[in-house]
Symmetry: C2
Subunit: 139 residues, 2 copies
Amino acid sequence: MKYLHTMVRVADLDASLDFYCKHLGLVELRRRDSEQGRFTLVFLAAPGDDSAQVELTHNWDPEVYTGGRNFGHLAYLVDDIYALCERLQAAGVVINRPPRDGHMAFVRSPDGISIELLQKGDALPPKAPWSSMPNTGEW
Amino acid sequence: MKYLHTMVRVADLDASLDFYCKHLGLVELRRRDSEQGRFTLVFLAAPGDDSAQVELTHNWDPEVYTGGRNFGHLAYLVDDIYALCERLQAAGVVINRPPRDGHMAFVRSPDGISIELLQKGDALPPKAPWSSMPNTGEW
């Protein structure tokens, strides 16, 4: 038995690939278009961690996706939580829970999927502006 | 960067551990009780696949968890999809999408988290009663 992936639905595939790949840093492993089913599946993973994937399902017929409380978040270990949050923020992503402690942050995907970022190894030393940045919204 | 876990909230921790561990086959790796936060976290993984985990969050103050459409499912590769579906069914779990093709099945956790089961390797030969079993509900 082996974990394969977590599937999330995405309303805007380009915006989602910008978020998950360009800004967050995942890489696209493969994709499948189904003319019959009118959907596109895109499988992503952290670089070098191909065995644990995220599957983006993009249904071609527009639908707005909202969340429920039974799903919580996806969590990733990251090399430099400050550098990643700077990159996300520069791309217009709200840092809902800034890494005040140099250890943990939360952001949301364009469809409201909560993503937990955890610093690899020991927490980084406190650093402005993160150390005094308040929370924004929920995550 | 590395995938760590998918977090799901569970209303009934015992029922969830029965589902995820006793019936589905995941194993508990560690748990943390927080008196201050009034929650219990339990980390699970497929046997031998400890690096890709599911985190169960059980808030001690009762809450009913429902789902949204942005989260789709968790997917696991399984050694024998018929044997697993038999075990789940015997435990009272509805097989929402039976493995008619010997390849894929869907069930739901007690809190409505959809779980995709995919047969390892080639699809198994068709087998009664699965081959003719209709779908039940959504997944």
